[in-house]
Symmetry: D2
Subunit: 266 residues, 4 copies
């Protein structure tokens, strides 16, 4: 069963007794005190430090994703913490496990849809008429397959998601309102027209095209949600430790869920 060994190699960092280098930068000398956590995340995933415009835009994306109040993910983290308060890291992990296709995945889905419809080399040169045409085709295809277009619609933020307005404003100010953002706006408008009802571009639907503008691979886009929510989940666990709700949720759910089965009066 011996197999031919292949090399194991990583370019993320290295260290010796007196040096620590991350992505080619000296950590103490070039990074500490000079860059913020969002820039460090950019360095990790792209291998270089962001420009000031990229820094503003990328930090805005991450800040958008940190805190969404009580969500399935944050409630799961709090319930986990109630059982294992000695393992804060495992409670954050439990919360992250739910960031799948239903919620955070739409951001990745939007990016994938846009890259498929508009290859990078055409994103800068496509005319408004061409983008209109692509948007019509994308919406028609999704409707024909009866699939939901990722990044559109929101149960609460109607008719406009205020995060989207602000993110697109920042995209325009920082030079990221190119073909992908234009196309997403057209897809949103066309989908509303075809469906005959309000379908606002939600926050993940704004982040998807901006990630395309920033040049990120769509398969890492979900990771931005994961890193940002890790920050938010730590906030939830701190609040849970000071002002708990997990045991109350448990009690209520347990009481109600089995009420039909328990003998009367018990």
């Amino acid at each position: 069963m011996a197999h031919k060994q292949k090399p194991i190699r990583s370019d993320l960092g290295w260290s010796t007794s007196d040096r620590i280098v991350v992505r080619g930068k000296d950590l103490p000398g070039e990074l500490l005190g000079k860059i913020n956590l969002g820039d460090m995340a950019f360095l990790e995933v792209s291998g270089r430090l962001p420009t000031p415009q990229e820094s503003t835009m990328f930090n805005a994306i991450l800040v958008t994703l940190v805190e969404h109040g009580m969500t399935p993910s944050s409630i799961a983290a709090r319930l986990t913490y109630a059982g294992a308060p000695e393992s804060l890291q495992a409670a954050v992990a439990a919360g992250l496990c739910g960031l799948g296709t239903v919620f955070v995945g739409s951001m990745e889905g939007a990016a994938r849809m846009l890259y498929a419809a508009l290859p990078r080399e055409r994103a800068r040169t496509a005319t408004d008429a061409e983008l209109d045409e692509i948007a019509r085709r994308v919406v028609a295809d999704y409707r024909a397959r009866k699939e939901i277009i990722p990044g559109l619609g929101h149960p609460i933020h109607k008719p406009v998601d205020p995060r989207t307005t602000r993110l697109f404003e920042l995209a325009a100010e920082n030079g990221f309102a190119g073909g992908y953002v234009k196309l997403m706006k057209r897809i949103g408008a066309e989908a509303e027209r075809a469906a005959g009802r309000s379908l606002p571009i939600n926050a993940t639907g704004a982040i998807g095209p901006i990630c395309c503008e920033l040049g990120f691979n769509d398969k890492i886009v979900r990771g931005f949600g994961v890193m940002a929510r890790a920050v938010g989940l730590v906030g939830h666990l701190l609040e849970e430790s000071e002002s708990p709700m997990a045991l109350e949720i448990w009690q209520r759910v347990e009481d109600e869920a089995s009420a039909h089965a328990r003998p009367p009066g018990k």
Copy 2:
């Protein structure tokens, strides 16, 4: 089994159709485009935005913790990703699960030790002589209990951990080199003297006291490691998706681990 209901309440955020408020701040209007991810983390855990000095210091702490190269945590995340590439969030979660007492926990342990030895109200007023005396007592107590002092010693970064030098420099520049930082330095020196060997204050040993200076509860300190490593793990998974090592690690481990049991030549 009916129980008296208690209220369920969170102060992290709320939203209506046209507003999203996090920790009392309007997310689109007051935060997006204006603060970075590290400041958002500070807002989450302290309920207010950082001062410029706090922002520099807190971002430096988080940036220190993002990327430590190949660690048990990052290898575990890569192996998990190899089996479930459709669940990037679960691979990050797997990596976070290992941030327990052995590695990241020392940061929390250092903060707890310092708070126990030097109550907050005395941290500003303690004299050098008093800090010397506290350090002697702390080191003697740990040695008597044969316990390891959290935050001291490093297998590679000897005789000085370059991150510690830089973090303490930033602490001094930004007004956080108070009683806790002074006490930690004295504990390090006293421990080296008592042990008769090099025991550098490592990065977690620098972060512990600075977290005390920033006023953070010691039970949330581990959370800073968790959020920062979530960022780093996303970087590892992106690299793994482009230049994988997980299957090679698996093959090598499997071959070697059972070589003694397999029939010869198989």
Copy 3:
């Protein structure tokens, strides 16, 4: 934002001061000392106790899935344990996170493929000729889409996976060698013929059709792998606690992965 409340209800169990009922059975009186863990799993997912034949078959499926030696999943669990030995549960969780589409998923994929090709109502009545025809069509479809047929092929167990032989033998002895098992065998033979190379039905390819024979929903089939591997991972963590390998794996990977980047001689 008030929404109309829907009921919360579960039929898995209930308890009062002196009774504990699981799936309608009195836990102390009807289950403890009378059934084994595999039967309890059957009760959990089907709502009734297994027949003796079902018990033998279902336990055999689960026993097959417990221990696969050093896998990405078990190595990830060990690495996690090395960092957080106080959280054995989190190390098992980390190991389970990798049981996704690449490894365990093929069992679920095989069941889904079979249900799609052969509806339950026809599984008992289809003739050999009809099954041959269905197998030809399934293989042709997968080949046309250039997709891998789930449950076929194994890197080591060639030309026959000995678990498959035994599982199909048990299926025949216990009355579960019906249409789904027959169809899977035909798909395997047809795929080998079409590909011109050995494509043994592997263990997951045997378990898939037997789960169909047992009447399980394909979406829960992955769960059998998850529960069985949880058992196996506890075994790995006990061995790791007594005879560790995680830190050695870490050291080797770290040394090799960054060797190209470190200054010579460091």
Copy 4:
């Protein structure tokens, strides 16, 4: 940084093209169709197959731990599944992450307490008078330290936990009602006397001493809870997929948690 390599070795299993051996047993030939999942778990953690008495006792322990109705752990798993239904394994993992010191840990705590108070070599020979004396000392020590004695007390099952009655009955029938079980009963009685209130030995308080009788290392005892609950969590997720409650829990929690902060009428 080159380090001296140590061997990597596991004795859990090995395989060649035509053989699969787990813990020294031929998996297809000696295990499949012959043992149940609980026996396989016993084999994994002890390296040998159980006697019939051990099989009955150990399966009863595991069956006790599978299903506890709606718990923080099962609710967390359901919330996770709602966000990532494509990753059933990650939802189970999220549920397991909460099996820490608060709930499942008491089983491990009871075993550790008993081993510390009564070394294995004395467990067979200690007289009733000696066990009485040890019980008095253990209870006095816990009370002096104001610590909770693991395995005693239950919010619902009063004055007797019916699982305990049955587990101790099975222990007596199968030859496991030795020194550790006797000591636990005495500790329970003495604790009730000292506290002046009902303190029933709960299920984890019964399992702890029986695990000592079976000779298991206390650090693996928590693992029995983990493996059993993995089985139960799969049951919960199947029910959640067919009759969901996660989104309803989410909605209710979200509505109530931020009601105080939202503008009136929103």
